[in-house]
């Protein structure tokens, strides 16, 4: 009965490849996010979606393309992977857009680009 689940948990791939990370939440939340955590543990928002609509795109390279087929899913596709993309990517959800409530995070996907 995992609330926010991401797959895969680990992803090792070569530079130039294209990869996807999937995220699903079973909480009935309207809003979902992607965050990137770098090697120094800094967490930075990448995207937020509300009811399948893109709300925030935080100056992320357009090699990163989120897709939300329905409000329970938010996938992240990355084209032409670069070494600097290595990080832990977290999916999260919250009941409503605009805050005032806690966010629920997935376990993270550790992406290593070699």
């Amino acid at each position: 009965d995992t609330a926010v689940s991401q797959t895969p948990k680990y992803l090792v791939t070569q530079m130039g490849n294209d990869k996807s990370i999937k995220c699903e939440q079973n909480l009935g939340h309207d809003t979902m996010y992607w965050y990137k955590q770098d090697s120094k543990k800094f967490l930075k928002i990448m995207f937020s979606y509300n009811n399948k609509e893109l709300i925030i795109n935080e100056t992320v390279p357009n090699r990163f393309s989120p897709k939300s087929p329905d409000k329970a899913h938010l996938n992240l596709h990355i084209n032409s992977l670069e070494l600097g993309d290595s990080a832990v990517y977290f999916c999260a959800s919250s009941p409503i857009l605009g805050g005032g409530t806690e966010a629920f995070f997935g376990q993270g996907t550790r992406l290593t680009v070699v």
Binding site: K41, E102, A103, G108
Partner: protein, 109 residues
């Protein structure tokens, strides 16, 4: 840039001692939240304090908020080895959470 800056970056204490960490932020906020991250895991929400609140308690956690100084503190009382984790403050505004750099807490048994 990070909205929140946390201090200290790392903290090492003995089991049973209290741990205090601070968070400063730059812009006005709706609320401020604290999260815990165990090694290799996702973030878990601990407590939310609204901009009109000054102090909030949850179990062994006490959070204060001073909006005039744009700062917050998290106190963990009677720490346990299981409290070993990274702790992040996050400001809530603009439809997103903006996180500080975190404080790594090590509680030695």
């Amino acid at each position: 840039s990070q909205q929140g800056e946390e201090d200290p970056q790392a903290l090492s204490i003995q089991e049973g001692e209290n741990a205090t960490m601070n968070c400063s932020y730059k812009t006005s906020i709706n609320n401020l939240q604290w999260y815990r991250q165990n090694s290799g895991r996702g973030l878990v929400h601990l407590i939310l304090i609204r901009s009109n609140e000054r102090e909030k308690h949850s179990g062994r956690l006490r959070v204060t908020l001073d909006t005039s100084k744009k700062s917050s503190s998290l106190l963990i009382t009677a720490s346990r080895a299981a409290d070993t984790a990274s702790y992040f403050c996050a400001t809530d505004g603009g439809g997103k959470l903006t996180f500080g750099g975190g404080t790594r807490v090590l509680v030695k048994p």
